[in-house]
């Protein structure tokens, strides 16, 4: 990366910053997400704390090193929110036609879509950072100490965030309207992926392998459930394979979004 590339990148990040800096809805949304993240972990923490020692298994282990996986898994339920932020920010440009104006004023089409990719990456970094913060706080509260062991789940959580955020990005770029993109995002993530995966695995392939490689599921398996993992995800591919699959999807989303934005009428 030479100096010019870095300058160009900072210029685009500054532009995105100017767009959201005074966008109240964005900050309220982000604030609610951060509170929600703490809230959902706190609920699980209370549940675990109350039942400490009364159950044969730990549902949500909050002691180091397992706290990282617990927090990453619980937090992953809220990954639709960073995705929605991404859809909001991109579909705004289409609604206000500012994607056109930005190009007219002198951005290249590539710069515009690249600035959204940078934005998505920053959102994923923030999401992961909050996740890490929660892990440190709850881990310390539960066990009264601190350790970095098991930190790889924070890394997995970052990859998972990227998967969700860029999946949301490609939906927004292809559908342009926030309502439609969000509906598809939720319906696909919560219902249709399981449905399609289930049909292909049970009716066509007679296995339980295809499902693991689906766009969002691949990253979900990377940060597996903290109890009954062997039951829910038997025969799951190794983390290395899942990471490769996730990276493939992330690159694919970015590639298709760039291509679409560079070639289509805006």
């Amino acid at each position: 990366m030479n100096l010019q590339t870095i300058k160009n990148m900072l210029h685009l990040i500054k532009l995105e910053w100017l767009k959201v800096k005074y966008y109240r809805a964005f900050w309220i949304f982000l604030g609610l997400y951060v509170i929600g993240l703490f809230g959902i972990n706190y609920v699980a923490y209370q549940f675990q704390d109350t039942l400490k020692g009364q159950l044969p298994i730990e549902f949500f282990p909050y002691n180091f090193p397992r706290v990282y996986q617990t927090i990453a898994w619980i937090s992953s339920w809220l990954l639709y929110f960073p995705g929605m932020l991404m859809i909001l920010v991109i579909s705004n440009e289409y609604t206000f036609k500012t994607h056109r104006q930005n190009i007219i004023d002198g951005l290249t089409r590539h710069q515009f879509i690249y600035s959204k990719i940078l934005f998505g990456t920053i959102i994923a970094i923030l999401t992961t950072f909050f996740c890490f913060l929660n892990a440190v706080v709850f881990g310390a509260m539960y066990s009264g100490k601190f350790s970095l062991e098991g930190m790889e789940f924070i890394g997995y959580s970052f990859v998972q965030s990227l998967c969700y955020v860029f999946f949301a990005m490609i939906l927004a770029v292809l559908m342009r309207r926030s309502g439609l993109a969000m509906a598809v995002f939720f319906l696909y993530g919560l219902i249709f992926e399981q449905l399609i995966g289930g049909i292909v695995d049970n009716k066509i392939l007679n296995s339980h392998n295809f499902f693991y490689y689906m766009p969002l599921e691949a990253s979900d398996v990377l940060v597996p459930i903290t109890f009954g993992n062997k039951l829910f995800y038997k025969d799951a591919p190794s983390s290395g394979i899942l990471l490769t699959v996730c990276c493939f999807y992330i690159l694919l989303y970015c590639f298709v979004s760039i291509r679409k934005f560079e070639r289509a009428d805006l």
Binding site: L18, K19, Y23, R100, Q101
Partner: protein, 296 residues
């Protein structure tokens, strides 16, 4: 030197042809009007040169070279509608535009004053009236003092005072030596401010050139007498006019602008034994000319 050159630009939206082999050049320092009824392809054409739309075929150049993002920074453009972030104030919207153009924020106050919006610069764009939005878009074009301006229907949504103000502003900018490309469906607008004009009709370029050559004015003299057949025979022998047409009110004689002489016509008719019942000089309206150009 030409600021903008279009070479055989064709554009299809699916099976609809929006532009058909359009070529022309915009000379530097001109106020170039692109005239055409709604749906004639004006905005499509400007969208293509701004890289918002991709041409199906053909090419274009800015300043004699390839068009890039850098050349777009040298051009202030208002395309179709004012496009701004609704949740940001006028000033903050202009900060973003200036940031993209790489021009610094120095003249934001100045351009806001030029379009009479300075007192409302902190109001959100969403609270603006249509006319204010349009004026903000023009202010944004003026950021960084570009040498070329592209205005697509610049007086759209403005009240009569606003329209007059924008026309004055355009004349002022032209007097500063800027090249202005302006699309409009309003003929008098083009006539009042443009030096050059290109006329588009359903995607076809009908004509382009200096405004005096394209929108020539003609004098029309309307004549009537009791015996119309005799009148026609007599007038045909008179000569001096460009053409003779029959109309509902009598006979129309078309003269080059400023050359019709009513006394002469009256005298000639009387000498030839005809008393005229009607004799009237009509300036041919540009509106008629425009309809003639676009409706055949």
């Amino acid at each position: 030197m030409d600021v903008l050159t279009l070479n055989n630009i064709t554009k299809y939206y699916g099976r609809i042809q929006a532009l058909n082999n359009v070529s022309f050049s915009v000379p530097a320092g001109s106020v170039f009007g692109i005239l055409g009824p709604n749906g004639s392809g004006k905005t499509t054409m400007l969208g293509i040169v701004m890289d918002i739309l991709k041409p199906s075929s053909g090419s274009f150049q800015f300043f004699g070279g390839p068009a890039t993002a850098e050349t777009r920074k040298q051009v202030g453009t208002l395309l179709e509608t004012p496009n701004f972030y609704h949740y940001l104030s006028a000033e903050r919207n202009l900060v973003i535009a200036a940031e993209i153009k790489g021009k610094g924020h120095g003249n934001i106050d100045e351009v806001l004053r030029k379009v009479n919006l300075h007192h409302r610069k902190s109001s959100k764009f969403s609270t603006y009236s249509l006319g204010m939005k349009q004026r903000l878009a023009i202010a944004s074009c003026l950021l960084g003092d570009p040498g070329v301006l592209v205005f697509d229907e610049p007086t759209n949504g403005l009240d009569p005072v606003g329209i007059a103000e924008i026309r004055e502003l355009i004349k002022l900018l032209a007097a500063e030596g800027k090249t202005i490309i302006m699309a409009s469906h309003m003929l008098d607008e083009v006539e009042k401010v443009c030096t050059h004009v290109a006329i588009l009709k359903t995607g076809n370029l009908i004509t382009a050139g200096h405004v005096d050559e394209v929108l020539v004015n003609e004098d029309i003299v309307e004549v009537a007498a009791r015996d119309m057949q005799q009148l026609e025979a007599v007038l045909s022998g008179m000569g001096g006019f460009k053409s003779l047409k029959k109309s509902a009110n009598g006979i129309q004689l078309l003269y080059p602008a400023g050359t019709a002489n009513l006394e002469e016509i009256n005298q000639y008719s009387f000498t030839n034994g005809l008393v005229l019942s009607h004799l009237q000089l009509k300036k041919k309206s540009l509106e008629t000319k425009f309809l003639e150009l676009t409706n055949n």
